[in-house]
């Protein structure tokens, strides 16, 4: 199956681990990710905070390129996905013509997690699991923007998405119930207001531990960065001894099917997941 792939800027930089694991599991599921030719940055939070026109025109150029390719678009970054969807809705509405941008659409814009957890993929994945992630107790952390707001994301389950939990069950892991799965990690404030990230993310650590979690599973590289890269700093600041590895869902897929590269992806994290995986007898 061929789809248009819109990686976004982070996947060429700090989130190369996510990018590599995506490439690994896509080929396994016979998904051909055809990178959108000449794609540009969606402008992220910065564009919609400072210039709403820019925040539409940047993703609109990508949509125009995707329209030429004519296939469904898959985006692994929650923010990219959200900005593409906002642009889609705007261009299809009355504002589209005012902006002088013609757009017919006719293809679907997917968030990667949503795309890969369609029933057909889960079934074919189930047949490929060789190393079930037994006893791995995890909380699924979706973050904000793959789900919200439903008028943009077209999701009926924006308050309580379940597809990552379904995936973990297929992989043999134990997803735990908790109320913070779509809470905010602070995302774009990471550099300008790290103090805010500390408070938000520490709250997530505490809630995850209270639910009995040993790790997080995420589908967004900004969530991963805030939960993983800041863990040492936050632990020090709050005088705690946190050890909560933060996996991308694609990494767990790779682990469970015995993808030879999976340990390499995990070695790029700051919070080393190996001790946990060894303890669980997974690696």
């Amino acid at each position: 199956m061929k789809v248009t792939y819109y990686p976004g800027c982070s996947l060429e930089g700090t989130a190369v681990d996510y990018a590599a694991s995506i490439a690994g599991v896509a080929s396994l599921l016979d998904v051909d990710l055809v990178e959108l030719f000449d794609w540009n940055c969606c402008g992220a939070s910065s564009a919609h905070s400072l210039n709403h026109q820019l925040a539409l025109h940047l993703p609109a150029r990508n949509l125009a390129l995707a329209e030429k390719a004519g296939r469904d678009v898959v985006a692994p970054c929650a923010l990219c996905f959200n900005r593409l969807k906002v642009a889609e809705k705007t261009l299809q509405g009355p504002q589209g013509e005012e902006l002088g941008l013609s757009y017919r659409g006719g293809f679907k814009i997917w968030d990667l997690l949503d795309f890969l957890t369609q029933n057909a993929f889960l079934e074919s994945l189930a047949a490929k699991v060789v190393l079930p992630l037994m006893n791995l107790k995890a909380v699924c952390y979706y973050g904000c923007l793959v789900a919200r707001p439903p008028a943009v994301t077209d999701r009926a389950d924006s308050e309580n998405p379940q597809n990552m939990e379904r995936l973990l069950e297929v992989l043999g892991a134990t997803p735990l119930d908790w109320s913070f799965k779509t809470d905010c990690c602070g995302a774009g404030l990471a550099l300008a207001r790290p103090d805010i990230i500390d408070t938000l993310v520490q709250r997530l650590y505490e809630r995850a531990l209270a639910a009995g979690a040993e790790c997080f599973v995420v589908s967004c590289q900004m969530c991963q960065a805030n939960l993983d890269l800041c863990q040492e700093r936050i632990a020090r600041k709050f005088g705690q001894d946190y050890y909560l590895p933060v996996f991308y869902f694609t990494e767990l897929m790779g682990l469970a099917v015995g993808h030879p590269q999976a340990p390499h992806w995990l070695a790029q994290h700051l919070v080393d997941p190996m001790p946990l995986l060894k303890m669980k007898g997974i690696i």
Partner: protein, 192 residues
């Protein structure tokens, strides 16, 4: 100074009219406070989200434009998703940020606004894709010029080093796009 209650008794219509024209229907707010109830950032705010909506509706420009809240809002969309009257509260926060900068107002703390500006400049100058390392360099320089913090710099560098060792830093930014002219045209058109 005029008693703030008297100010509230004399609503100004310019701001709410501008907002409604931008599809931000603050006039539909009935102050149920659901937006503030679900907002994860209230601990860092001076006005709660429902205050911002109410004050905007009353045209209290100074109070909303000078509040930290609009800059602290992370755009998580919880409020917008839950408002029973379909008000795009997160969109209102964005509109107020943009307008505050457009009017050249002195911001209560310009860290966030400066970060966004540097982000967009980096993206523009790189020809269409963001160079994360370029953004980091520029933003760190700005912070150091503003207020030298060597402990903070050391922590940033040590994090950068750990990422570098793991192959997660791309020192050279992305090359400019084939369509870099189109990107430049977009930036010109939106006057950034």
């Amino acid at each position: 100074m005029e008693n703030p209650t008297n100010q509230l008794l004399r609503p100004q219509y310019v701001l709410p009219e501008q907002l409604v024209k931008a599809n931000l229907a603050v006039t539909s707010c009935f102050q149920c406070r659901k937006c503030s109830g679900g907002c994860p950032l209230t601990f860092a705010m001076d006005l709660l989200p429902h205050h911002v909506i109410r004050l905007a509706l009353l045209g209290q420009e100074e109070r909303v434009f000078d509040s930290m809240t609009i800059w602290v809002c992370s755009g998580c969309q919880t409020c917008t998703s839950r408002c029973p009257n379909g008000i795009d509260i997160a969109g209102t926060m964005d509109w107020l940020k943009e307008e505050a900068v457009r009017r050249g107002r002195t911001l209560p703390d310009d860290m966030v606004a400066t970060f966004h500006r540097i982000f967009l400049e980096s993206l523009r100058d790189a020809g269409g894709r963001l160079s994360e390392s370029g953004l980091l360099r520029r933003f760190t320089l700005f912070k150091m010029r503003r207020q030298p913090d060597f402990a903070g710099l050391k922590a940033d560098l040590s994090l950068g080093w750990k990422l570098w060792k793991r192959g997660r830093v791309r020192w050279r930014g992305p090359s400019a796009l084939r369509g870099k002219g189109e990107i430049a045209e977009i930036f010109r058109k939106v006057e950034f």
